[in-house]
C-alpha cells in the first residue's frame, strides 16, 4: 500500500515550507526596498540642504563687499556691483536674457538669476555670472545625480538706511518634495544708495 520512499512526507514538508519561505522573502524584500527608498530620500535631502547652504554662503559673501545692489522687479534676478582692482579703461557691454548691462573699468559685478526654461526641464535653477566670465554663465544649483532641486525664490531686499541686505531663499527637492527656507541678512559697509 505504501511505498517506502518517503515521497509523501517530502510533499507535506514543501507544502508548509514553501509558503513560509515566500512570506519571509516577501517581507525581507519589502523592508529592503523601503530602506533603500529611505536612503535615496535622505541623500536628496542632504543635497537640498547643501545646495541651499552653498547659495546662501555665496550670496552673502558677494553681498558683503557690494557697492550697489540691483534687484529685478520679478525677483528672479539680483546683481551685486563692487569695486576691485581690475584692468582700467575697459568698457564693455554684454547681453543677458535680452538685457544690456554696461560695465565700467574698475567695477566688477556678479549676478544671480533664475532660468525657468531649459530644454527638457521646467523647474528653476539658480545661475551665477561674473562680469569677467565673459559670455559664460553657470548653474549653481540643481541637476545633482543624488537628487535634483529647484529654487522656489531668492528674495533680496535692501534697507538703504541701515545698509542691510535681507536675503530669503526657498528651495525644494524634486525627489522628496521637501522644502527648505533660509533667511539671513548682510551688512554692506561699502553700499552707496543709488550707486
Amino acid at each position: 500500500m505504501f511505498k517506502n520512499n518517503g515521497g509523501g512526507f517530502v510533499v507535506a514538508e514543501f507544502a508548509i515550507a514553501l509558503p513560509l519561505l515566500i512570506l519571509v522573502m516577501y517581507g525581507l524584500a519589502t523592508v529592503s526596498v523601503k530602506i533603500f527608498a529611505l536612503g535615496k530620500s535622505q541623500l536628496a535631502d542632504y543635497v537640498l540642504e547643501s545646495e541651499a547652504q552653498y547659495v546662501m554662503e555665496e550670496v552673502t559673501h558677494i553681498a558683503r563687499t557690494a557697492r550697489e545692489v540691483e534687484i529685478s522687479t520679478s525677483g528672479g534676478q539680483v546683481k551685486f556691483v563692487y569695486h576691485t582692482a581690475a584692468d582700467k579703461n575697459i568698457i564693455e557691454s554684454t547681453s543677458l536674457n535680452g538685457r544690456y548691462v554696461f560695465m565700467l573699468n574698475d567695477v566688477l559685478e556678479t549676478q544671480y538669476f533664475m532660468l525657468y526654461e531649459k530644454e527638457g526641464r521646467n523647474s528653476s535653477n539658480l545661475y551665477a555670472k561674473r562680469q569677467d566670465d565673459g559670455t559664460y554663465f553657470n548653474p549653481i544649483t540643481g541637476e545633482n545625480y543624488f537628487g535634483d532641486t529647484k529654487v522656489n525664490y531668492l528674495k533680496c531686499a535692501v534697507n538703504e538706511q541701515k545698509k542691510i541686505l535681507h536675503i530669503s531663499l526657498e528651495m525644494e527637492s524634486l525627489v522628496t518634495g521637501r522644502k527648505i527656507k533660509l533667511d539671513t541678512a548682510v551688512y554692506m559697509p561699502s553700499y552707496k544708495a543709488g550707486g
Binding site: L28, I35, L38, G39, Q53, K181, L182, D183, A185, P189
Partner: protein, 134 residues
C-alpha cells in the same frame, strides 16, 4: 508509524540546500539592519543651519546699529520677525526660534534656541562687532 520511524532513521543531518538558504536569509537580514542603523532621520541639522543664519542676521543688524550708535547690554532681535518662524522641520510643525543677544565691550553673544517635541536645543555664537568704514 513504522514508516515515519523509517524515514527519521534515514535522516542524515541538514541538506546543503538548507544551509545555503539559511545563510542567505540571515546575511540578507544582517545587511538590512546594518544599512538601517545610521539612517535614522535627524532633522536637527536643518534647524541648526536655519538658526545659524538667523544668528548671522542678528550680527548684521548689530554691525549696522554699531555704525550708527554705541551699543551695549541686552538687545532684542533686530531682524525680520517673520524669520523667527520656520517650517524646515515639516510643513505642519512650525518651529519658533528665540534669539537673545548680549553686547559687552565690543563682543556680541547671540543665542538662538528652539524646541522640538518638548526638548530644548540651542546654538551660541560670539563675534566682535567692529565699526566698518569704507
Amino acid at each position: 508509524m513504522n514508516r515515519i520511524k523509517f524515514v527519521l532513521r534515514n535522516e542524515r543531518g541538514f541538506l546543503l540546500l538548507n544551509v545555503v538558504f539559511l545563510t542567505l536569509i540571515t546575511s540578507f537580514a544582517a545587511m538590512i539592519l546594518i544599512n538601517a542603523a545610521p539612517r535614522v532621520r535627524n532633522p536637527q541639522s536643518t534647524l541648526r543651519l536655519t538658526a545659524l543664519y538667523l544668528a548671522n542676521e542678528q550680527f548684521a543688524e548689530l554691525e549696522s546699529l554699531a555704525a550708527r550708535e554705541d551699543i551695549s547690554g541686552s538687545q532684542p532681535f533686530l531682524g525680520d520677525k517673520d524669520d523667527l518662524k520656520s517650517n524646515n522641520l515639516s510643513e505642519d510643525n512650525p518651529i519658533e526660534f528665540k534669539v537673545t543677544t548680549n553686547v559687552s565691550g565690543g563682543r556680541a553673544v547671540v543665542k538662538v534656541s528652539w524646541q522640538v517635541g518638548g526638548e530644548d536645543f540651542e546654538i551660541e555664537t560670539e563675534r566682535t562687532i567692529r565699526v566698518v568704514q569704507e
